[in-house]
């Protein structure tokens, strides 16, 4: 599939008959040409039925308010019936995890995990995060081109995850690896070419964590995630399948999302030097900038639901069993709710009001931890007057779910 220029994309987005518009194509996410398609849908067919695609038929919800209405209506729109990504999986390939459960099971499991990222515990983590950030930033090469994604985005979030799990630090890159495998849709010609292969690798992940579980269940309850899961009444008798599922949830949820916001922030500041200047001149804008970075990146482009009964979204009739995709990435560009939504503005009004973490009972449980990591990173970059220049085109991930970067070539002047 050849790279399409932004201009050609815009032409095609407006020329293509609506009935043929399939926004789920991964290539468009890789080429970053999704924007005119979503713009057209928001304007002309905000609740859009695509009758055939690589993922079968599906509804796209593209406006902020409609997305909010679906996200908060968990009684009608289930996370359990078909899972939470556009891909349909055989039951045997699905790992049970609370993001893909409905109440009451969802509630019990989420409440077990939630305390580790509650405000009091975050205060305890701040010192350690800052130490790790400083060590990484101080180790970066000067006057030399390197990949920010690898040396900072992945490294920082992986270290954070290892800390949360009290995972053996020297093996931490396994967490990145397993996270990437978990979000990979198997394709011929790739390293992960079958669901079975994917399953086998994730089986190794389960084995490793089961070892840690067995160590910690016999020890005093600790404040790491594994210990919490092993000791809490609602999770200590989890079947291995469910344990793996929740582990994957926490690894993925805490890993490539934050990773891609770290990369995105550097890219956006480079593309918008006026905003970088604002931040340099006023460090108090860091929290606001962090929210804007997360909105602008929207690290998870969509979340999926299944309608449990016949219903309506906007003026469209949805049938029981229909697949419904909430395109957070589109809702976060909705001018009807967010002023000048297609611009990166770090001091906008209500910067925290965006869809990147979702809303309702499934709202990202780690959202404050993500913000904390980003806040500390930008504070320490400002403290060092680090001028990170992007020196080449970013390489994006070919995924309609994970919205992120595999490479961001940068250079820091000495």
């Amino acid at each position: 599939m050849s790279t399409m220029s932004a201009e050609r994309a815009s032409d095609e987005a407006h020329a293509i008959p609506l009935g043929e518009l399939d926004i789920s194509k991964a290539e468009r996410f890789k080429d970053d040409t999704i924007w005119p398609y979503f713009e057209r849908l928001r304007k002309e067919d905000p609740v859009h039925y695509c009758k055939d695609s690589l993922f079968g038929p599906y509804w796209s919800v593209t406006r902020y308010r409609d997305i909010m209405a679906v996200d908060t209506n968990h009684k009608v729109f289930s996370s359990e019936a078909g899972g939470i990504t556009i891909v349909d999986r055989r039951v045997e390939d699905r790992n049970p995890m609370f993001i893909a459960m409905d109440p009451p099971k969802h509630d019990e499991q989420r409440k077990t995990v939630s305390p580790i990222v509650a405000p009091a515990n975050l205060a305890n983590l701040e010192g350690l995060i800052r130490k790790r950030v400083c060590a990484i930033l101080d180790s970066l090469p000067k006057n030399e081109t390197f990949n920010w994604v690898d040396k900072v985005s992945i490294e920082l979030t992986t270290q954070m995850l290892a800390t949360l799990f009290d995972f053996p630090f020297e093996d931490r890159r396994l967490l990145t690896y397993w996270s990437d495998v978990a979000t990979t849709v198997p394709q011929a010609g790739q390293e992960i070419d079958t669901w079975e292969k994917r399953g086998a690798i994730l089986g190794e992940c389960l084995a490793y964590f089961t070892r840690l579980w067995n160590e910690r269940i016999n020890a005093e309850p600790g404040s790491d995630l594994i210990s919490m899961l092993a000791h809490s009444p609602s999770t200590r008798n989890m079947a291995p399948r469910e344990f793996l599922g929740n582990l994957i949830l926490l690894i993925v949820g805490g890993n490539d999302t934050t990773r891609n916001s770290i990369s995105g922030g550097v890219w956006f500041m480079n593309q918008n030097p006026g905003e970088m200047r604002k931040l340099r001149d006023n460090q108090a804008l860091v929290p606001s900038a962090v929210s804007e970075i997360i909105r602008y990146q929207t690290p998870l482009a969509h979340m999926r639901r299944n309608a449990l009964v016949d219903t309506t979204i906007g003026d469209k009739k949805i049938k029981a069993g229909d697949k419904v995709i909430m395109w957070y990435i589109s809702g976060n560009r909705d001018d009807e709710v967010i002023e000048n939504a297609s611009s990166f503005v770090i001091d906008r009004k209500n910067p925290r009001q965006h869809l990147a973490f979702g809303f309702g009972i499934h709202r990202c449980v780690g959202n404050r931890l993500a913000e904390l990591q980003l806040k500390i990173l930008w504070e320490e970059m400002l403290n060092r007057r680090l001028d990170v220049k992007v020196v080449g085109e970013p390489e994006r991930v070919a995924s309609n779910f994970v919205h992120g970067y595999s490479a961001l070539p940068v250079r820091i002047a000495a």
Binding site: R110, S114, A118, P119, A123, N350, F359, G360, I361, R368
Partner: protein, 106 residues
Amino acid sequence: MPTVNFIEFGGHEHRIEVPAGTSVMRAAVDNRVPGIDGDCGGECACATCHVYVDQAWLPKTGERTATEEELLGFASGTEPNSRLACQIRMTDALDGLLVRMPEGQH
């Protein structure tokens, strides 16, 4: 105009005038009172406007809605006097309302 007294976790007080009909969350956010976020903009969809209503005032604010109850179940440090500030609409009868903010919003 009726006023609300917001007390930060650390004890710092803010006395804010809130017109009748405005939610307590909206008043806090618009007046930059620290400790209340209101990420969802008042749609009862996030629980980041969690407050503790002073016992003397609690009955006057009314009952939690079903959705509010559900979301408070996920908030940190929920107590019997917890409410979501976006679900408390200001009235003259609430003049002097006293609320305390939690350690942090989640």
